[in-house]
């Protein structure tokens, strides 16, 4: 009976961290897809930086230089947002693997970008990403994001 309780407790502990990471990533997508003007937009911009560590590195793949640092990333996202207000971001197939110390995790996911293509339909670009998240100040933050080339 004690063993069963231990297993259940261990499972719940494991899944709660995984769930926190999934919720965090879905929150990131939701914030990026939020309203595009007014106070909500300002709040969203402030929250966006909170999802990343100060020294975050984002690698978008061959031909794109890495984006280094939270300030750079937030600035780029703000500039990009003004040009792509019709774009939406969605995360699928989120696979979370916690490291042994439970303060870091490797995450695989597919990011889909949908935007109005001018013909009434959605144009889609989908990329696989490998993320490293770390738990800092009680929050899971993205420390590294690298595009994975499915087709080379």
């Amino acid at each position: 009976m004690a063993a069963v309780c231990l297993v259940v407790a261990w499972q719940r502990w494991t899944t709660s961290e995984e769930r926190a990471i999934r919720t965090r990533l879905l929150g990131l997508a939701s914030d990026l897809n939020g309203p595009d003007a007014g106070a909500a937009s300002l709040l969203r911009a402030a929250r966006f930086g909170d999802y990343f560590t100060d020294d975050v590195v984002v690698e978008l793949g061959e031909g794109s230089p890495p984006i280094i640092g939270r300030a750079t990333l937030v600035g780029m996202a703000a500039r990009l947002e003004r040009r792509t207000t019709a774009a939406r971001l969605k995360f699928d197939d989120i696979d979370v693997r916690l490291r042994d110390d439970r303060t870091a995790a490797d995450v695989g996911l597919t990011a889909s970008f949908m935007r109005e293509d001018g013909t009434g339909g959605d144009a889609v670009d989908a990329r696989e990403f490998a993320l490293q998240l770390v738990k800092r100040d009680g929050q899971w933050r993205v420390a590294r994001a690298a595009a994975v080339a499915a087709l080379r």
Binding site: D92, D93, I94, D95, G108, L109, T110, S112, M114, D117, G121, D122, A123, V124, D125, A126, R127, E128, F129, V148, A150, L151, R152
Partner: protein, 163 residues
């Protein structure tokens, strides 16, 4: 038993319940592991697959042999819920290049009747390894830089599109 109840539950309700259960289990197995439903999005497979078309991926198609040239396959990204739908044009071990939009396999031009829009794409020659296929969309009228195509490892190919 009233006629209405008989029409809904059959003459033997417990047997009907078992049939429904079996049907549900078979459906879950079929549509989760064998025939994955997908909805195509985007323009890279035009004119053969328009955006919004619903089809099924046969995950058992390549159990006994690998994909053949011309097969339309689903390629997984991080998982099976978002996939690339592409056509296989190069097989393991082959040399492939594209010159002015024309595909060459081992130096021989490849006939592609399914391509209706063709731009002057150029791709330097690549040699596929024993586990690689070359996949590409049918819409070559778009800019090559906007089109995802290239070599893919066999383990990423989920299955063949049924229709």
């Amino acid at each position: 038993m009233s006629l209405a109840r008989r029409l809904v539950f059959g003459s033997n309700p417990s047997r009907t319940a078992i049939r429904i259960l079996v049907l549900a289990v078979v459906s879950v197995i079929a549509f989760r592991w064998v025939l994955l439903p997908v909805r195509t999005e985007g323009i890279s497979m035009l004119p053969n697959y328009a955006s919004g078309r619903v089809t099924l991926i046969n995950r058992l198609a390549f159990l006994r042999h690998g994909p053949s040239r011309g097969d339309i396959v689903a390629i997984r990204l991080a998982g099976p819920h978002v996939v690339y739908v592409k056509r296989v044009i190069g097989l393991p071990g082959e040399r492939l290049k594209i010159v002015g939009g024309q595909v060459y396999i081992d130096g021989v031009p490849l006939g592609e009747p399914y391509v209706k829009y063709r731009g002057p794409w150029d791709v330097p020659e690549v040699t596929l390894t024993s586990t690689e296929y070359y996949v590409i969309g049918d819409n070559r009228g778009m800019r090559a830089s906007d089109h995802s195509f290239g070599r893919v490892n066999a383990e990423r190919i989920l299955g063949r599109l049924l229709f």
